[in-house]
């Protein structure tokens, strides 16, 4: 993917260099060739419709190549593959906090396996930051109050710069770290050391501790919708709209439950704003995601259809 960006960059560079060289050459050539010489007067040329049209259309066509190529790359960049390993990120002034699904927590240093798609699910605790790994040619602003997503597929093991790329105050230039890409077996070894609690399990415990489980039951008796299998699917709201249950939807449902009421349910869920940290939110989101999933080694629960209380 990074190679693709470089290829487009080189193409842009070549075209720009050619254009620059042509203009420079012509200007210098004309400046010398048509410098004032005794006896020769300037020749007045009003213009040329043909030329104007030509040198509008041809550059425009070249621009459209730049546009389409760039758009294709961008589309891929903004569409994480469904099988990506997920890392939850909380940015704050002036550090990066990472939590892997398996529970490992890291600060400023992110270990990832080579050869796998990795998806960063990111939010900020305070101001806008930006997750920038030059070597991977990716960048994504990290916003307070919502999740933004970036993904990459690292091929070569090594250590790569991580920078914050959105000015965020005093130590903006200190909010740096590294992405450590490891051989898959080294990564497994690193992952298994430490006895961490998987993120989804942390979420499951929170789900119970905070009382979520009392309303969000897996039978049809809950006062809140059954969350098994809900992630990633469309949700019909009581005002008639349909939204997709993505990370931001789950997050919003916890912090501002009245914003989107599921069809057939009453707005009785209390808000947890101010009562849980971003890390706890991430764990809950990871847990909800894990409900009803079969692959990635997560035990799947059966998908019971959500139905409203009569």
């Amino acid at each position: 993917m990074a190679n693709n960006v470089d290829a487009l960059f080189v193409f842009l560079l070549v075209v720009s260099a050619m254009m620059t060289l042509s203009i420079f050459t012509m200007v210098i050539f004309f400046a010398v060739r048509y410098r004032r010489q005794g006896g020769r007067r300037a020749e007045q040329i009003e213009g040329s419709h043909a030329l104007e049209i030509t040198w509008s259309i041809i550059p425009f066509c070249v621009f459209m190549v730049f546009f389409v190529w760039g758009a294709v790359i961008y589309f891929r960049e903004r569409t994480p593959p469904p099988d990506s390993a997920e890392v939850y990120t909380v940015a704050k002034q002036w550090m990066w906090k990472f939590e892997h699904m398996e529970g490992q927590r890291e600060i400023n240093e992110l270990h990832v396996p080579a050869g796998r798609n990795v998806k960063m699910i990111m939010t900020s605790q305070d101001v806008i930051h930006s997750f920038f790994v030059p070597a991977f040619r990716i960048k994504q602003d990290v916003l307070p109050g919502r999740y933004t997503v970036a993904w990459f597929h690292a091929t070569k093991p090594g250590t790569y710069h991580l920078f914050c790329a959105e000015y965020c105050g005093t130590m903006h230039s200190g909010m740096v770290g590294s992405v450590v890409v490891m051989e898959p077996k080294d990564y497994e070894a690193w992952m298994s050391g430490g006895g961490n609690q998987p993120l989804a399990l942390t979420g499951e415990k929170l789900f119970s501790e905070l009382g979520c489980v009392t309303c969000h039951r897996t039978d049809t008796q809950g006062r809140g919708p059954n969350l098994v299998g809900v992630f990633g699917k469309p949700v019909l709201l009581e005002d008639g709209r349909t939204v997709t249950a993505d990370e931001n939807y789950v997050r919003e449902s916890i912090l501002q439950p009245a914003a989107k009421i599921v069809n057939g349910f009453k707005p009785v869920m209390p808000t947890f704003q101010g009562q849980i940290s971003d890390e706890q939110l991430n764990a809950l989101v990871a847990y909800v995601k894990s409900l009803g999933q079969q692959p990635s080694g997560q035990p799947g629960k059966s998908v019971a259809a959500a139905s409203p209380q009569p």
Partner: protein, 236 residues
Amino acid sequence: MQTSPAATVPGEAHENLALLHHFATPEQQKDAASLGMWIFLVTEVMFFGGMFCAYLIYRYWYFGDFAAASSSIDLTLGTINTAVLICSSLTVAMAVRCAQVGKQKSIVVYLILTIILGVAFLGIKGLEYKQKFDENHVPGQASFHLAGHVPRHPDLPVNQQHAQIYFSLYFAMTGMHALHMIIGVGLFSYLAYKAWKGLYGPGYYTPLENGGLYWHFVDIVWIYLFPLLYLIDRHP
């Protein structure tokens, strides 16, 4: 230095002839002044436009809470103010008309009426603001609380943050509008004084016309503000 030709037509501006030094004809001067005022009003549209844009976005996102907040502001006072402002546009138009037909004294009367109506509007607005202060509907204060539920959703309490955004925009937009009205009242005071001095008549009433344009614009802004702020989801 060129000398100013003496005024020969009653009502023709005296000191404004000094401006003529860079204008070729009085028509050019009048044209320029009118075009200038229209362009200024376009800038004002863009200025208020930013706030209207923010308002429309948040209203779309937080409709229920906006509706709840909207029903908490005094519709009676708002309606009275709308009538007051529309009347004041009428009095301004009358003032311009009087200048056009040469009724010198009436110009002053109508301008003063406009000022009175404008001040009345501001007074009523002050009353509304006071109401909001008393009811703890001032955004950004720790004591802010908008009680109640989203209209027609008795089980949905008002989201206090969203309601505060409504009130932030309410105060910002009506406050900016009120500031423009204060400037307008000042402007008309000046024009009334000049009218009393006999400066305006059928041959020259450009400042009145342009002042009137400004005032009509301020009126139109209110005509948009009123339904947007006061009438969200109201039902008889």
